[in-house]
Symmetry: C2
Subunit: 543 residues, 2 copies
């Protein structure tokens, strides 16, 4: 399966550069990687991001190789600086929105090959406009082949789920197992089968008719790539571009490609590692080295691929050494099989891609998101729409931005539970429970709520702040608490912090608040309240 | 005091535009404002931001008037959209760093008047470079006057703190009070006294000698400004600028000026409101209307001023109607007093500004920050340095950014307390307590820690997640918890969520996790653990 996908992607994106990408990274990851199921190579998402980055200003493949080098360096340094936690800010909904949009964009880019027409454009809307303009030029044979390939692939995909055991209850258990295994093989090898059948068909047609009724892949450059320095200088539009020019031409791609390749790699590692913790730093370093070395064999950026990871996993790969076989097979095909790639029809390749990516459109997660937290649909949908209609990178940045705003809003506006309670000696008091830590964006709000509730009750009612959930505080919080205690002292209303962690008390004491009273147990709290009620009844007696 | 400051600032920044700013906003705030001590008018910080915005591309005062209108509209709409919480993200340390840097920049801009030299430039480094280049041209009389004024002002400032009561113990209590009051008056009115004395001195010198030994303010345009539409079109460098050109020439100033004027106004309101909650929305709307109306009398942007707020407060202003007196006095001076402004020496005005702003350099907060939370010094110092050496706006944005990173890091890496406990029936179990809510950036980390701790103990030891502090969760968290419970089920190790809020259980159940076990009381927890130990001992018996 990896071979066809490699071929497919190589063809789709940057001709030879995909194939070159496929062997070096496999070898390198074997040495540096930590997760046996992560197959490093060119992937659909990274290919589409690379294509977007290059198409912006119509750049040559040399830029893709430099992008590989830069991505590698960035991954590597992020690993060294332990910046793995940054990836955690890509939430589930954002990643769903991104993947779904990427899948639709990939599928859209293949429609032209199914229809056998030539069109330009890379943006979603643009491509569909061009398709509808040229819909009249549709080639019958390409379309027929493409659509039948898609149907066959989807059926073959389903075949392994047939509950064979029940239907063939009379068969011997051994025959059952063989039947099930061969169905599994048929299903798993469906892509290579379609490529082989179509390729042979076209070869026969071409050798008998002299020409093929469907469009073919054509010549693929044979042989192994040279091992040489990545290009630090190139020609573009008749101008010499030096390193700095090239980097600025690549623009945001220099950050987006490494970040998303890390995201892809680490999320795959998480899926297949079955709860064993992933060493994100190790993975970042490994992916960095993979990309840097790959850049020396003229490769496009690489990352861990989900579908190949699934094949690795279900084929029972035991260690990262599996990568060596993958790499060797790619080397062999680069050396000996390229002449046969000529006969593979474009429509069949497009069908394989479409039949694979439509399952990346994760419509089925809308329901669980709705059930768990409806508001999480906002970043998911925003990411999806912005990725689809603006650009993939912009979409993911907007999604992360919206999601981080949720976090910040939550830390700025904690919820405070207010209820009344009575102490053992009959003293009524107000309990206010903030539900999270006191930090600079929330402290003024908390102070305002406590003041308001305190004033509403009148100065005779003591206020107790149940500080169980206050696990952290900062200077701004300490200043706010100082003003709060001073306000309450001025009014003569007691304010007691109950169950405040000693480390937080230390922080509060740093700004020297006057009249900060804390209690660390029910007993102490009752003593505090008793003391107060004595004072107030004494002062009442006096007047 | 307000009068002189107004005069000073008017002179320093945009000639007449400061004076025009001073009356309209006072009237408008009287109607819309909610805090009696907030005196709306031109302030040092807003003046310096306006100057920076205009000096970038050498813009005319017309741009300042448009900036006033735009600031007003932005404040107003922020009020309507209830975006007051955004201001909470300017933490104590950032605001300290900003104010200190602004004070130093303001003081720096006045040094040239103290020395009596002419220099250009607005940036901190640039100005000091120019000063040292032209240090040879220093005028003796300007310098002498400036420095003596600064010394006198600082002494007068101190005078009101003299503990008169003790020293003059023999005086009658009435004489004491009078003495104290007059010292207070002398101290509070020190700025007008310096201006008056210097003005009269220079007037005498000019009428006797025919010229003054020190540089004077010169002519100030007399009379009231017309009430007219703000300029939506202007000429700049021999080109016609329409509204869009003007806005893009103002650039980031269009956002920075309204945000900082809001910040200044609301922080003053907080200082003087003595714990009573501030209605930030009301203040935003009021400041918005103040700026919009001021733009019709050719004013520069206005905001609430700290020093004038202090004077209002200590003078015993009772309601926002106090603004009407301020406004009327400015009107009178615009109409009748402008001829007399001619004789005020530049050095005296510079001295007043320097003597006022050096107390805005808040070196004294370094110690409390160090005592409370050392890491908060990073945003404070970063803001200070970036404001001083790059630009004020950039500095504050960098400071907020660093501070928000702290928040995000805290939400991505909660701390988990781990300890062992034994149930009533002697079953040993592991308790893991996350200290805050489970949200998308932290859930993978929490999952990894729990998995690691669970594996370390071996599958025989049940793991209890004390969920007291988990007050919120999202879809990503629910997915993470689902994987976690499935990992534990696969291993056959029990995982119990203790004290999980019902609302969070609902969220977790949205993704249909298999084997999510919760206990809401000690009793239930013990039952869960007992059930498990029965199963495990039963299975032990079987083998």
């Amino acid at each position: 399966m990896w071979l066809r996908q490699r071929v497919v992607r190589a063809h789709r994106t940057l001709n030879c550069y995909g194939l070159y990408s496929s062997f070096m990274a496999c070898f390198v990851y074997t040495i540096f990687g930590s997760c046996k199921d992560v197959p490093v190579g060119p992937t659909a998402i990274i290919a589409i991001l690379t294509r977007e980055t290059l198409q912006k200003s119509d750049l040559e493949p040399d830029f893709a190789v430099l992008l590989t080098l830069i991505s590698g360096c960035i991954c590597f340094f992020m690993g060294i600086l332990h910046l793995g936690f940054l990836l955690d800010f890509i939430s589930g909904p954002v990643s769903v929105g991104f993947t779904s949009a990427a899948a639709i964009i990939i599928a859209t880019s293949q429609v032209k090959d199914i229809l056998g027409i030539h069109i330009g454009g890379s943006k979603f809307v643009e491509v569909w406009q061009n398709i509808f303009e040229k819909i009249g030029e549709t080639k019958l044979w390409d379309t027929a082949l493409g659509i039948s390939c898609i149907i066959i692939l989807l059926l073959l995909r389903k075949i392994k789920d047939i509950p064979f055991m029940k239907k063939a209850a009379k068969m011997s258990s051994r025959a059952q197992v063989i039947m099930q295994k061969s169905l599994w093989l048929l299903s798993t090898a469906r892509n290579i089968l379609v490529v082989l059948v179509c390729g042979v068909m076209c070869w026969l047609l071409e050798s008998h008719l002299g020409s093929s009724p469907v469009r073919l892949t054509g010549h693929v450059k044979q042989g192994l790539p040279e091992f040489r320095l990545p290009p630090f200088q190139t020609y573009h539009k008749n101008e010499t571009y030096d390193f700095v020019d090239m980097v600025s031409a690549l623009g945001s791609g220099c950050l987006v490609v490494p970040l998303l390749s890390l995201l892809e790699t680490i999320s795959i590692a998480k899926v297949f590692n079955e709860g064993k913790p992933i060493d994100a730093t190790q993975e970042m370093l490994a992916l960095g080295v993979c990309n840097v070395v790959s850049a020396f064999v003229s490769s496009m950026p690489v990352s861990g691929g989900l579908s190949r990871g699934a094949v690795n996993h279900s084929s029972g790969v035991k260690t990262t050494l599996g990568g060596i076989y993958t790499g060797l097979l790619v080397l062999v095909s680069l050396q000996f099989l390229t002449p046969y790639l000529y006969f593979i029809p474009n429509a069949a390749l497009a069908a394989i891609i479409i039949a694979a990516v439509i399952f990346m459109v994760e419509l089925h997660v809308i329901k669980p998101i709705w059930r768990t937290k409806k508001i999480d649909l906002i970043p998911a949908i925003a990411t999806f729409l912005c990725c689809l209609f603006i650009r993939l990178e912009i979409g993911i940045v907007i999604g992360i931005g919206i999601n981080v705003l949720f976090l910040l809003y939550a830390s700025a506006r904690p919820s405070l539970r207010v209820h009344k309670d009575t102490s053992i000696n009959g003293c009524e008091y107000l309990v206010i429970t903030p539900d999270r830590s006191l930090v600079f964006p929330s402290v003024e709000y908390v102070r305002a709520v406590i003041s308001k509730q305190g004033t509403k009750q009148g100065t005779a009612v003591p206020v107790v702040i149940d500080s169980t959930h206050i696990q952290a505080a900062d200077f701004t919080a300490a200043k706010g608490i100082k003003s709060l205690t001073e306000d309450f002292s001025k009014r003569g209303q007691p304010l007691i912090f109950h169950n405040l962690k000693p480390s937080i008390i230390e922080i509060f004491k740093g700004v020297k608040p006057s009249g900060l009273r804390c209690s660390s147990s029910e007993l102490e709290l009752n003593d505090c309240l008793k003391e107060f009620s004595n004072i107030s009844s004494a002062s009442m007696n006096r007047y």
